[in-house]
Symmetry: C2
């Protein structure tokens, strides 16, 4: 048997994920060696502060603050430090020194992915990033490889565990947004500053990565339409529940026809949406993640599991590491970034979906007629109308008594719906537009 020299692995970052990766690499050394066909030698763990690292249950001599020397001597660099810099510079250095890179850094990929992939392609290096989206759930590899012979039509993903935890708690226990967020923070699901999760920055990064892979098109983070869940009240969730829906923060990536040109384009957006309680995504509870993929030939697929967490992310990182190491031992490149399709990325106004518009209206004759007229005028077809009592207490100071009107539409163009909503807000009969929610997964 041919004996290969060790594959030298440098680890950047000694936090929860980094420590877990290091521990598994050391503990299962022989198992990794037999899977790869050569020993994986952890050459060091680069950290910012040696003091912090000392508490870890790992050989002290592995830790270093000199990331650059560590990278220089590595065949494979694992980046689990997070943040944009110095992660970006380190990865570029690794690529340019001929190493393959495994990263879990979704923010970096969504922001500087094009630069990193181009650098990798120039030198024939590989960039692996299964851990960047949906933790240990294998979704990157299926999109890059398993579905490479199919055409993905649509992806709907619950890709942020924190917001799913919050929305699930609101749905199952009737909690308010603030209370659910407080519990999520207490349990460590949400950060002290929950902006990245709650305002859907994190989900938008993942949508950008998923859409780019699925449609073989660069989807810049800025072109991902983003709405967070702060505006979702307990009442909204309750009304949705009564109507047979659940509110989920969805990353939706789809192929669609540009209404302006008639050409094929793609859309990537993140927003809280209504989804039927019969849909498999409705059964994704707590902080779990799931990605629902519709492909031309494969039909509907769903990938489900724990979204994040140290061990889960470490599992994804190590899976990538084995791929990278096997490539290193046996030779031959893996898959590069694939942006050959280069489809136009369409704005949110170009999408077509169903909507639930909740209005607070003054309770007097002719209201429904004037509301219905606005929908008709803008070419939006109404599917159902329901009158509720939601919100009446909120405007008890109003001159006239108010009532809630929920209008469900058939599939309509977002720009038409937006024009309808603007017009509705101007109507004398309408006190306020309470919410506009998209309905997905019909």
């Amino acid at each position: 048997m041919i004996e290969y020299r060790n594959v030298r692995v440098a680890l950047l970052g000694g936090g929860t994920v980094g420590a877990q990766v290091a521990r598994l690499l050391l503990e299962h050394k022989e198992e990794f060696a037999s899977r790869v066909g050569a020993s994986l030698e952890l050459t060091g763990i680069a950290v910012r502060n040696l003091d912090a690292a000392r508490s870890a249950d790992l050989p002290k001599e592995l830790f270093t603050t000199d990331a650059e020397s560590l990278i220089l001597g590595a065949d494979i660099v694992i980046e689990v430090m997070g943040g944009l810099e110095p992660a970006r510079s380190y990865i570029l250095q690794a690529i340019n020194s001929g190493a393959d890179v495994v990263t879990a850094n979704k923010a970096l990929l969504a922001t500087h992915g094009t630069e990193l992939f181009e650098a990798a392609e120039r030198v024939g290096a590989q960039l692996y990033f299964e851990a960047a989206v949906a933790g240990a759930i294998p979704i990157i590899r299926p999109l890059r490889e398993s579905l490479a012979g199919d055409r993905v039509k649509r992806i709907m993903g619950i890709v942020n565990g924190t917001t799913n935890y919050i929305l699930d708690k609101m749905d199952t226990e009737g909690a308010s947004f603030d209370d659910a967020l407080a519990v999520a923070t207490e349990l460590g699901y949400a950060e002290a500053d929950p902006t990245a999760d709650v305002d859907a920055f994190d989900a938008a990064q993942k949508a950008s990565i998923l859409a780019s892979l699925a449609f073989h098109t660069t989807i810049p983070l800025e072109s991902v339409h983003r709405e967070g869940i702060r505006a979702i009240s307990g009442k909204t969730v309750e009304l949705a529940k009564k109507a047979g829906y659940v509110v989920k923060l969805l990353a939706v990536c789809e192929r669609l026809t540009d209404p302006a040109t008639g050409e094929e384009g793609v859309s990537a957006r993140v927003y809280p949406a209504l989804i039927s309680r019969e849909h498999p995504l409705a059964a994704v509870h707590k902080a779990n993640n799931a990605v629902f993929v519709e492909a031309e030939a494969a039909g509907s697929l769903m990938f489900y599991g724990a979204g994040a967490g140290g061990p889960e992310t470490a599992s994804a990182v190590l899976g990538d590491l084995v791929s990278a190491a096997r490539r290193h031992v046996i030779g031959g490149p893996g898959l590069g970034a694939s942006t050959h399709a280069n489809l136009p990325v369409l704005p949110i106004s170009a999408i077509t979906t169903r909507y639930h518009v909740t209005l607070l209206v003054f309770d007097r004759p002719g209201v429904l007629a004037s509301v219905a007229e606005e929908f008709a005028k803008h070419g939006v077809s109404v599917e159902l109308v329901e009158q509720g009592t939601f919100g009446s207490e909120a405007v008890s100071g109003e001159a006239a008594p108010t009532a809630t009107l929920v209008i469900g539409t058939h599939a309509a163009l977002e720009s038409d719906l937006a024009a309808t909503v603007s017009a509705l807000a101007q109507l004398d009969a309408v006190s306020s537009v309470v919410s506009v929610l998209r309905v997905e997964g019909a």
Copy 2:
């Protein structure tokens, strides 16, 4: 840009899947070329009978009965003809002439997999088989690659659409086994001879493939314990439903400790089992498939989708084809068969699980005590006892009135449970053992 010559693709089999693969290859020629980096040239479709092929909506000149010449000129051979021979010989010929092979043939892999993988390894050829298990659901690739850095503890899969359709119909509509089978046959889910599905031969083949990949160990088909669903009556399904369970035909593959030696071993088995209605697998309806994977670091993952069907299988075949073609263009081997762990394969007697034993007993004093004593004597701990009326009509000719007793156990060793059941069958108080069902997914 470097221009590569075409990749020559030979297709063996012109049935539903073959025709679909050919059609997609021809229709999306440019898209495949840009994904692979070279044109995929379909050089021919080998069929047994040219007459049958003539009806297909494909260029007539592609069809040939001379499979061997076709294989000789191919870079990649796709085998979707099914059956053991001549599929096995053709694949060996392809491998030995230096081609990579994509196959959807689970029966062949489960029966002759070791021979094929060894042949491929000898010449450095690759064998791709995503389509062999669970249609378009990417499960082979995640097991081979994504989880390569993790340790799979357990797999539970609904891997046969026909039996899931039957059991789901029994559960949701209260149909009898015979009626559900008749509908499945009418709708084309079941073959005229349903043995392969109903007696779990098909599921056992898939269990053998999944277990081999998950545990890096050759699991011969003969060592997969197999029980079909013919014995599952409407009453059994109804009783299960009342107790909060659903009956599913499960392929279970797990690592476990050999009770005889204390060493680590693996088990692969297929049987109808009770699963809690709260478990994600309980929500897999109709002919869908799903594979639930528990790994040390990744936690619980589930892969869900349509199990079989022409387009779904074609999607999986084409995904593999793109991988194979990229490897052909760019060079470098992919992953070989991985059987380095070579763990002992343990018999069904070595497994530990929970059980529901349903007995028909004579309704007289002391029955429960004598039944309970047998469990205790064999070291099987009882969790619950329920007295029902099920079956009383079936034995109306009996001397004494009868009653049904369902005994749920805590986790117990299968050999202990089997000894208990044998002893129970000998008791005067017991009229018959109605069923013994394992409970999975606790």
